[in-house]
Symmetry: C2
Subunit: 157 residues, 2 copies
Amino acid sequence: MSTHDVAQQPARVDPSSWMQAVQGAWQAGGLRATGPRLRVLQTISRYRVPFSAEDLYAALKARRDDRTGRATVYRTLEQLHSAGWLARIHQQGSEAGYVPSFPGHLHHLVCTSCGVVIAFEGCALDELVARLAAQTSFAIESHLLQLYGRCAMCRDC
Amino acid sequence: MSTHDVAQQPARVDPSSWMQAVQGAWQAGGLRATGPRLRVLQTISRYRVPFSAEDLYAALKARRDDRTGRATVYRTLEQLHSAGWLARIHQQGSEAGYVPSFPGHLHHLVCTSCGVVIAFEGCALDELVARLAAQTSFAIESHLLQLYGRCAMCRDC
DNA sequence: ATACCTGCAAACAATTTGCACAAAC
DNA sequence: GTTTGTGCAAATTGTTTGCAGGTAT
């Protein structure tokens, strides 16, 4: 059982285990746990829906006395995303947003009404991949899969 | 058999049938076939790989004497995308780009080396959708699926 | 001590908007 | 002739960069 053993069952990412996991990875990778970075991390962990870089920057600025600069926000997002701690969610109409995630092969189920995101694993695409590989001669290596619908709370409104 | 009956087999979109189909849809929808729009359409139809709005604008500007403005490019892209004539391709590292497509339920297979895009239908996700619906109580309505790999030409380099 | 990080401000890039003029139907 | 579309330039908005100084280890 790994430290961040997520979404055996579909589930929202737990904010505090996510924060802990990221901090562990930072330490392991020699990245410093600075004040601004930790504040960014905490602010992210409170999001339940996809957010943009500017959303995050604005949220930080909302706390008075916060001096975190845009550069730190963008640089931290970049680091987290490339290390797999943030997933990009592509909503139909609107722009893409980030959501806390864990490194590895995960997919997402997104509520088109409230925006809540559920991660899951297992996508049963092997047959499709085999068929397409045969038909196209592509060497298929990876895929992006996101599902959209209305969550239990929103479907009854 | 519909006018734009595509990707029964996985295939690149055919530039000229795509242009014809779009022009038909414009006419049917009361959109005027103006010079600038047709030039945008033709330029798009020549792309074999995902392109951005600025790529397209630059390509138009490359023809001397072209007066097409940015606004026209952006507005036309917006129209084509929202009507389903352009699909957004999300490459792993880089930014998203557009690719000619047809309205309807299509997915894409993208070469990570040369960028060529193949459209296909049929994704066999019913079982997965049923399982997730049961586990999460979401009413799942749609999904985004893109596959990545190396095409026949690129895999041998 | 010494990397690594930070905020700032300016540069850069991408997209949107208002509006007078032009073109399609 | 009227409605729809257009180019332009300016306004917005989003993102990156250079650098002098600060801070975690």
